[in-house]
Point group: C2
Chain length 216, copies 2
Protein backbone atom coordinates (compact mmCIF):
# COMPACT_ATOMS: atom_id res chain seq x y z
CA UNK A 1 0.00 0.00 0.00
CA UNK A 2 1.10 3.60 -0.55
CA UNK A 3 1.33 5.53 2.67
CA UNK A 4 1.88 9.23 3.34
CA UNK A 5 3.62 9.96 6.64
CA UNK A 6 3.07 13.58 7.67
CA UNK A 7 5.83 14.41 10.15
CA UNK A 8 9.49 13.58 10.52
CA UNK A 9 9.91 13.15 14.29
CA UNK A 10 10.81 9.93 16.10
CA UNK A 11 7.21 8.64 15.99
CA UNK A 12 6.93 9.27 12.26
CA UNK A 13 10.29 7.74 11.45
CA UNK A 14 9.58 4.68 13.57
CA UNK A 15 6.16 4.10 12.01
CA UNK A 16 7.49 4.77 8.50
CA UNK A 17 10.34 2.30 8.96
CA UNK A 18 7.95 -0.36 10.25
CA UNK A 19 5.63 0.18 7.29
CA UNK A 20 8.50 -0.11 4.79
CA UNK A 21 9.64 -3.30 6.56
CA UNK A 22 6.12 -4.65 6.08
CA UNK A 23 6.40 -4.03 2.34
CA UNK A 24 4.56 -0.73 2.00
CA UNK A 25 5.74 2.31 0.05
CA UNK A 26 6.07 5.31 2.33
CA UNK A 27 6.58 8.97 1.46
CA UNK A 28 7.53 11.09 4.44
CA UNK A 29 6.29 14.67 4.26
CA UNK A 30 7.43 17.84 5.95
CA UNK A 31 7.11 21.59 5.56
CA UNK A 32 9.98 21.69 3.11
CA UNK A 33 10.85 18.95 0.61
CA UNK A 34 14.48 18.86 1.74
CA UNK A 35 13.93 18.23 5.48
CA UNK A 36 17.12 16.73 6.89
CA UNK A 37 15.50 14.00 9.00
CA UNK A 38 13.20 12.91 6.17
CA UNK A 39 16.09 12.84 3.70
CA UNK A 40 18.23 10.74 6.03
CA UNK A 41 15.31 8.42 6.71
CA UNK A 42 14.56 7.95 2.98
CA UNK A 43 18.22 7.29 2.18
CA UNK A 44 18.45 4.66 4.92
CA UNK A 45 15.29 2.76 4.04
CA UNK A 46 15.65 1.71 0.40
CA UNK A 47 13.60 2.06 -2.73
CA UNK A 48 10.21 2.02 -0.99
CA UNK A 49 11.09 5.05 1.12
CA UNK A 50 10.84 8.58 -0.24
CA UNK A 51 10.29 12.10 1.01
CA UNK A 52 8.68 15.34 -0.07
CA UNK A 53 6.44 18.12 1.15
CA UNK A 54 3.32 17.53 3.25
CA UNK A 55 1.33 17.88 0.01
CA UNK A 56 3.60 15.42 -1.84
CA UNK A 57 3.19 12.82 0.92
CA UNK A 58 -0.58 13.31 1.19
CA UNK A 59 -1.03 13.09 -2.60
CA UNK A 60 1.08 9.91 -2.64
CA UNK A 61 -0.66 8.03 0.14
CA UNK A 62 -3.77 5.89 0.01
CA UNK A 63 -3.57 6.07 3.79
CA UNK A 64 -2.18 9.16 5.53
CA UNK A 65 -0.65 9.23 9.03
CA UNK A 66 -0.65 12.47 11.00
CA UNK A 67 2.40 12.29 13.25
CA UNK A 68 3.04 16.01 13.45
CA UNK A 69 3.25 17.92 16.72
CA UNK A 70 -0.36 18.07 17.88
CA UNK A 71 -0.21 21.82 18.41
CA UNK A 72 0.56 22.30 14.71
CA UNK A 73 -1.36 19.39 13.18
CA UNK A 74 -4.22 21.42 11.71
CA UNK A 75 -1.77 23.79 10.05
CA UNK A 76 0.30 20.87 8.68
CA UNK A 77 -2.83 19.18 7.34
CA UNK A 78 -3.95 22.40 5.65
CA UNK A 79 -0.55 22.56 4.05
CA UNK A 80 -0.99 18.93 2.93
CA UNK A 81 -4.11 20.08 1.10
CA UNK A 82 -7.72 19.11 1.58
CA UNK A 83 -7.97 17.63 -1.92
CA UNK A 84 -5.10 15.26 -1.08
CA UNK A 85 -6.95 14.03 2.02
CA UNK A 86 -10.52 13.77 0.77
CA UNK A 87 -11.86 10.23 0.70
CA UNK A 88 -8.71 8.85 2.30
CA UNK A 89 -8.07 7.27 5.68
CA UNK A 90 -6.27 9.72 7.94
CA UNK A 91 -4.74 8.01 10.97
CA UNK A 92 -4.36 10.67 13.63
CA UNK A 93 -1.53 9.65 15.96
CA UNK A 94 -0.84 13.16 17.27
CA UNK A 95 -1.35 14.31 20.82
CA UNK A 96 -2.30 17.93 21.46
CA UNK A 97 0.48 18.52 23.96
CA UNK A 98 1.79 21.83 25.18
CA UNK A 99 5.01 21.79 27.21
CA UNK A 100 5.59 25.54 26.89
CA UNK A 101 4.76 26.26 30.51
CA UNK A 102 7.23 23.62 31.72
CA UNK A 103 4.48 21.20 32.69
CA UNK A 104 2.41 19.15 30.32
CA UNK A 105 -1.05 20.24 29.37
CA UNK A 106 -3.38 19.37 26.54
CA UNK A 107 -4.24 22.19 24.14
CA UNK A 108 -7.70 20.66 23.68
CA UNK A 109 -9.49 18.22 25.97
CA UNK A 110 -12.58 17.30 27.96
CA UNK A 111 -15.28 18.71 25.62
CA UNK A 112 -13.33 18.32 22.39
CA UNK A 113 -10.27 16.53 21.02
CA UNK A 114 -7.67 16.92 18.32
CA UNK A 115 -9.20 13.93 16.53
CA UNK A 116 -12.54 15.73 16.35
CA UNK A 117 -10.91 19.01 15.31
CA UNK A 118 -9.16 17.24 12.43
CA UNK A 119 -12.39 15.50 11.38
CA UNK A 120 -14.30 18.81 11.44
CA UNK A 121 -11.58 20.59 9.45
CA UNK A 122 -11.46 17.80 6.84
CA UNK A 123 -14.99 16.39 6.75
CA UNK A 124 -14.31 14.23 3.69
CA UNK A 125 -11.30 12.52 5.23
CA UNK A 126 -11.90 9.34 7.22
CA UNK A 127 -10.19 10.18 10.48
CA UNK A 128 -9.17 7.28 12.73
CA UNK A 129 -7.53 8.09 16.05
CA UNK A 130 -5.04 5.42 17.05
CA UNK A 131 -1.59 4.71 18.49
CA UNK A 132 -1.36 7.93 20.52
CA UNK A 133 -1.69 6.09 23.84
CA UNK A 134 1.65 4.24 23.85
CA UNK A 135 5.26 5.15 23.30
CA UNK A 136 6.74 4.89 19.84
CA UNK A 137 8.68 1.68 20.39
CA UNK A 138 5.57 -0.10 21.62
CA UNK A 139 3.51 1.32 18.75
CA UNK A 140 5.56 -0.68 16.24
CA UNK A 141 6.48 -3.57 18.53
CA UNK A 142 3.71 -4.39 21.01
CA UNK A 143 5.48 -7.61 22.00
CA UNK A 144 7.96 -5.47 23.96
CA UNK A 145 5.35 -5.80 26.70
CA UNK A 146 4.37 -9.20 28.09
CA UNK A 147 0.99 -10.82 27.57
CA UNK A 148 -2.13 -9.11 26.32
CA UNK A 149 -2.55 -5.36 26.27
CA UNK A 150 -4.86 -3.12 24.33
CA UNK A 151 -4.78 -0.51 21.65
CA UNK A 152 -7.80 1.71 21.02
CA UNK A 153 -9.29 3.17 17.86
CA UNK A 154 -11.89 5.88 17.38
CA UNK A 155 -13.52 7.02 14.16
CA UNK A 156 -16.80 7.67 12.42
CA UNK A 157 -16.12 5.43 9.39
CA UNK A 158 -16.40 1.71 10.12
CA UNK A 159 -14.66 0.56 6.94
CA UNK A 160 -11.76 2.90 7.68
CA UNK A 161 -11.47 1.52 11.20
CA UNK A 162 -11.50 -2.03 9.83
CA UNK A 163 -8.67 -1.18 7.44
CA UNK A 164 -6.61 0.50 10.18
CA UNK A 165 -7.26 -2.44 12.50
CA UNK A 166 -5.91 -4.79 9.85
CA UNK A 167 -2.79 -2.64 9.44
CA UNK A 168 -2.26 -2.48 13.21
CA UNK A 169 -2.59 -6.25 13.46
CA UNK A 170 0.24 -6.52 10.95
CA UNK A 171 2.34 -4.52 13.47
CA UNK A 172 1.66 -7.28 16.01
CA UNK A 173 -1.30 -5.75 17.87
CA UNK A 174 -3.63 -8.54 18.95
CA UNK A 175 -6.30 -6.64 20.83
CA UNK A 176 -7.66 -3.45 19.35
CA UNK A 177 -10.72 -2.00 21.05
CA UNK A 178 -13.08 0.07 18.92
CA UNK A 179 -14.25 2.89 21.19
CA UNK A 180 -16.83 4.20 18.72
CA UNK A 181 -17.03 7.48 16.83
CA UNK A 182 -14.29 10.08 16.60
CA UNK A 183 -15.73 11.77 19.69
CA UNK A 184 -14.27 8.91 21.72
CA UNK A 185 -10.82 10.28 20.81
CA UNK A 186 -11.41 12.41 23.92
CA UNK A 187 -10.81 9.30 25.99
CA UNK A 188 -7.66 8.31 24.14
CA UNK A 189 -6.20 11.80 24.33
CA UNK A 190 -7.13 12.12 28.03
CA UNK A 191 -4.97 9.05 28.64
CA UNK A 192 -2.00 11.35 28.09
CA UNK A 193 -2.70 12.97 31.44
CA UNK A 194 -2.67 9.52 33.03
CA UNK A 195 0.46 8.69 31.02
CA UNK A 196 2.26 11.62 32.62
CA UNK A 197 1.13 10.59 36.11
CA UNK A 198 2.03 6.94 35.53
CA UNK A 199 5.37 7.80 33.91
CA UNK A 200 6.49 9.30 37.19
CA UNK A 201 5.53 6.11 39.04
CA UNK A 202 7.08 3.69 36.54
CA UNK A 203 10.77 3.08 35.86
CA UNK A 204 10.26 4.00 32.19
CA UNK A 205 7.63 4.73 29.53
CA UNK A 206 7.33 1.11 28.47
CA UNK A 207 3.87 0.34 29.74
CA UNK A 208 0.35 -0.01 28.45
CA UNK A 209 -3.08 -0.98 29.68
CA UNK A 210 -4.91 -4.23 29.57
CA UNK A 211 -8.62 -3.71 30.00
CA UNK A 212 -9.81 -6.35 32.44
CA UNK A 213 -13.50 -7.23 32.13
CA UNK A 214 -16.03 -8.91 34.36
CA UNK A 215 -16.20 -12.65 34.41
CA UNK A 216 -19.27 -13.91 32.63
CA UNK B 1 -11.26 2.71 63.09
CA UNK B 2 -13.76 5.59 63.11
CA UNK B 3 -14.67 6.75 59.63
CA UNK B 4 -16.65 9.74 58.42
CA UNK B 5 -18.43 9.17 55.11
CA UNK B 6 -19.40 12.47 53.50
CA UNK B 7 -22.16 11.70 51.04
CA UNK B 8 -25.14 9.40 50.92
CA UNK B 9 -25.22 8.26 47.29
CA UNK B 10 -24.67 4.70 46.02
CA UNK B 11 -20.86 5.05 46.20
CA UNK B 12 -20.97 6.30 49.78
CA UNK B 13 -23.45 3.68 50.94
CA UNK B 14 -21.47 0.90 49.29
CA UNK B 15 -18.18 2.02 50.81
CA UNK B 16 -19.78 2.63 54.21
CA UNK B 17 -21.34 -0.84 54.24
CA UNK B 18 -18.03 -2.44 53.30
CA UNK B 19 -16.24 -0.53 56.07
CA UNK B 20 -18.81 -1.60 58.67
CA UNK B 21 -18.49 -5.20 57.46
CA UNK B 22 -14.75 -4.89 58.02
CA UNK B 23 -15.40 -3.87 61.62
CA UNK B 24 -15.07 -0.09 61.40
CA UNK B 25 -17.46 2.44 62.89
CA UNK B 26 -18.91 4.66 60.19
CA UNK B 27 -20.90 7.87 60.48
CA UNK B 28 -22.54 8.93 57.24
CA UNK B 29 -22.89 12.68 56.83
CA UNK B 30 -25.16 14.78 54.69
CA UNK B 31 -26.42 18.36 54.48
CA UNK B 32 -29.16 17.64 56.98
CA UNK B 33 -28.91 15.23 59.90
CA UNK B 34 -32.15 13.48 58.93
CA UNK B 35 -31.26 12.55 55.34
CA UNK B 36 -33.51 9.68 54.27
CA UNK B 37 -30.84 7.55 52.57
CA UNK B 38 -28.40 7.97 55.45
CA UNK B 39 -31.08 7.10 58.00
CA UNK B 40 -32.10 3.97 56.09
CA UNK B 41 -28.45 2.97 55.70
CA UNK B 42 -27.71 3.46 59.42
CA UNK B 43 -30.80 1.49 60.44
CA UNK B 44 -29.84 -1.40 58.15
CA UNK B 45 -26.21 -1.68 59.23
CA UNK B 46 -26.22 -2.21 62.97
CA UNK B 47 -24.60 -0.56 65.94
CA UNK B 48 -21.44 0.52 64.12
CA UNK B 49 -23.42 2.55 61.59
CA UNK B 50 -24.69 6.03 62.36
CA UNK B 51 -25.57 9.23 60.58
CA UNK B 52 -25.48 12.98 61.05
CA UNK B 53 -24.54 16.20 59.36
CA UNK B 54 -21.39 16.62 57.27
CA UNK B 55 -19.83 18.25 60.35
CA UNK B 56 -20.94 15.40 62.64
CA UNK B 57 -19.41 12.79 60.32
CA UNK B 58 -16.17 14.74 59.84
CA UNK B 59 -15.79 15.32 63.59
CA UNK B 60 -16.41 11.61 64.20
CA UNK B 61 -13.96 10.18 61.68
CA UNK B 62 -10.26 9.56 62.04
CA UNK B 63 -10.37 9.06 58.29
CA UNK B 64 -12.85 10.98 56.14
CA UNK B 65 -14.15 9.88 52.74
CA UNK B 66 -15.42 12.48 50.29
CA UNK B 67 -18.05 10.72 48.19
CA UNK B 68 -20.16 13.77 47.42
CA UNK B 69 -21.02 14.89 43.92
CA UNK B 70 -17.76 16.33 42.61
CA UNK B 71 -19.42 19.55 41.53
CA UNK B 72 -20.44 20.24 45.12
CA UNK B 73 -17.54 18.67 47.01
CA UNK B 74 -15.82 21.88 48.06
CA UNK B 75 -19.07 23.25 49.41
CA UNK B 76 -19.80 20.01 51.29
CA UNK B 77 -16.30 19.98 52.77
CA UNK B 78 -16.67 23.60 53.90
CA UNK B 79 -19.89 22.59 55.55
CA UNK B 80 -18.03 19.69 57.22
CA UNK B 81 -15.73 22.28 58.75
CA UNK B 82 -12.02 22.81 58.28
CA UNK B 83 -11.30 22.13 61.97
CA UNK B 84 -12.92 18.69 61.62
CA UNK B 85 -10.63 17.87 58.68
CA UNK B 86 -7.32 19.30 59.83
CA UNK B 87 -4.63 16.69 60.41
CA UNK B 88 -6.87 13.88 59.15
CA UNK B 89 -6.70 11.68 56.08
CA UNK B 90 -9.28 12.79 53.53
CA UNK B 91 -9.86 10.16 50.86
CA UNK B 92 -11.22 11.98 47.84
CA UNK B 93 -13.30 9.54 45.79
CA UNK B 94 -15.32 12.20 43.97
CA UNK B 95 -15.22 12.90 40.27
CA UNK B 96 -15.82 16.44 39.05
CA UNK B 97 -18.52 15.45 36.59
CA UNK B 98 -21.03 17.70 34.92
CA UNK B 99 -23.86 16.01 33.01
CA UNK B 100 -25.95 19.19 32.79
CA UNK B 101 -25.37 19.60 29.06
CA UNK B 102 -26.49 16.03 28.39
CA UNK B 103 -22.96 14.86 27.71
CA UNK B 104 -20.32 14.23 30.31
CA UNK B 105 -17.65 16.78 30.94
CA UNK B 106 -15.25 17.38 33.78
CA UNK B 107 -15.70 20.65 35.68
CA UNK B 108 -11.95 20.77 36.25
CA UNK B 109 -9.23 18.96 34.31
CA UNK B 110 -5.98 19.10 32.39
CA UNK B 111 -4.17 21.83 34.36
CA UNK B 112 -5.88 21.16 37.69
CA UNK B 113 -7.98 18.52 39.43
CA UNK B 114 -10.60 18.23 42.13
CA UNK B 115 -8.04 16.45 44.29
CA UNK B 116 -5.74 19.46 44.09
CA UNK B 117 -8.60 21.89 44.67
CA UNK B 118 -9.57 20.04 47.83
CA UNK B 119 -5.96 19.96 49.03
CA UNK B 120 -5.56 23.71 48.39
CA UNK B 121 -8.84 24.49 50.16
CA UNK B 122 -7.89 22.36 53.19
CA UNK B 123 -4.09 22.55 53.38
CA UNK B 124 -3.94 20.80 56.76
CA UNK B 125 -5.94 17.78 55.61
CA UNK B 126 -4.01 14.88 54.11
CA UNK B 127 -5.81 14.41 50.82
CA UNK B 128 -5.48 11.05 49.08
CA UNK B 129 -7.20 10.60 45.73
CA UNK B 130 -8.33 7.01 45.24
CA UNK B 131 -11.14 4.74 44.06
CA UNK B 132 -12.59 7.23 41.56
CA UNK B 133 -11.44 5.19 38.56
CA UNK B 134 -13.71 2.16 38.95
CA UNK B 135 -17.40 1.57 39.46
CA UNK B 136 -18.75 1.27 42.96
CA UNK B 137 -19.19 -2.51 43.00
CA UNK B 138 -15.59 -3.01 41.94
CA UNK B 139 -14.40 -0.44 44.50
CA UNK B 140 -15.52 -2.68 47.34
CA UNK B 141 -15.11 -6.03 45.59
CA UNK B 142 -12.17 -6.02 43.17
CA UNK B 143 -12.42 -9.78 42.75
CA UNK B 144 -15.48 -9.18 40.57
CA UNK B 145 -12.88 -8.83 37.82
CA UNK B 146 -10.55 -11.70 36.94
CA UNK B 147 -6.82 -11.68 37.60
CA UNK B 148 -4.72 -8.67 38.46
CA UNK B 149 -5.88 -5.13 37.91
CA UNK B 150 -4.75 -1.87 39.39
CA UNK B 151 -5.98 0.86 41.63
CA UNK B 152 -4.17 4.20 41.81
CA UNK B 153 -3.51 6.61 44.64
CA UNK B 154 -2.26 10.19 44.62
CA UNK B 155 -1.36 12.39 47.56
CA UNK B 156 1.32 14.57 49.07
CA UNK B 157 1.51 12.75 52.44
CA UNK B 158 3.32 9.42 52.28
CA UNK B 159 2.10 8.14 55.65
CA UNK B 160 -1.49 8.95 54.67
CA UNK B 161 -1.07 7.05 51.41
CA UNK B 162 0.37 4.08 53.29
CA UNK B 163 -2.64 4.07 55.64
CA UNK B 164 -5.12 4.30 52.75
CA UNK B 165 -3.25 1.56 50.88
CA UNK B 166 -3.60 -0.68 53.92
CA UNK B 167 -7.34 0.04 54.09
CA UNK B 168 -7.76 -0.63 50.36
CA UNK B 169 -5.90 -3.91 50.70
CA UNK B 170 -8.46 -4.92 53.32
CA UNK B 171 -11.10 -4.39 50.59
CA UNK B 172 -9.28 -6.98 48.48
CA UNK B 173 -7.15 -4.69 46.32
CA UNK B 174 -3.85 -6.41 45.59
CA UNK B 175 -2.11 -3.91 43.35
CA UNK B 176 -2.22 -0.24 44.26
CA UNK B 177 0.03 2.05 42.24
CA UNK B 178 1.25 5.20 43.96
CA UNK B 179 1.24 7.87 41.24
CA UNK B 180 2.97 10.49 43.38
CA UNK B 181 1.75 13.81 44.73
CA UNK B 182 -1.82 15.07 44.65
CA UNK B 183 -1.11 16.70 41.29
CA UNK B 184 -1.20 13.22 39.79
CA UNK B 185 -4.93 13.17 40.58
CA UNK B 186 -5.17 14.84 37.16
CA UNK B 187 -4.37 11.49 35.63
CA UNK B 188 -6.89 9.58 37.72
CA UNK B 189 -9.65 12.09 37.04
CA UNK B 190 -8.81 12.19 33.31
CA UNK B 191 -9.49 8.45 33.24
CA UNK B 192 -13.17 9.39 33.53
CA UNK B 193 -13.08 10.61 29.94
CA UNK B 194 -11.64 7.24 28.93
CA UNK B 195 -14.22 5.53 31.14
CA UNK B 196 -17.01 7.17 29.15
CA UNK B 197 -15.45 6.16 25.83
CA UNK B 198 -14.79 2.61 27.00
CA UNK B 199 -18.23 2.25 28.58
CA UNK B 200 -19.75 2.63 25.14
CA UNK B 201 -17.52 -0.11 23.79
CA UNK B 202 -18.03 -2.53 26.68
CA UNK B 203 -21.16 -4.50 27.57
CA UNK B 204 -21.17 -2.89 31.03
CA UNK B 205 -19.17 -0.75 33.45
CA UNK B 206 -17.46 -3.70 35.07
CA UNK B 207 -13.93 -3.19 33.80
CA UNK B 208 -10.64 -1.84 35.02
CA UNK B 209 -7.07 -1.50 33.83
CA UNK B 210 -4.07 -3.65 34.41
CA UNK B 211 -0.88 -1.73 33.77
CA UNK B 212 1.37 -4.00 31.73
CA UNK B 213 5.06 -3.22 32.04
CA UNK B 214 8.13 -4.04 30.01
CA UNK B 215 9.84 -7.35 30.54
CA UNK B 216 13.09 -6.93 32.38
Amino acid sequence: MKIGMLGTGPVGRNLATKLVQLGHEVKMGSRTADNKDATAWAQANGAKASRGTFADAAAFGEIIFNVTNGQHSLEALKSAGEKNLNGKILVDVANPLDFSTGELKLTVSNTDSLGEQVQRAFPKAKVVKALNTVNTDIQVNPSLLPGDHDLFISGDDKAAKAKVTELLKSFGWKSIIDLGGIKSARGQEALLLMFMSLSNAMPNEYFNYKVVRKKR
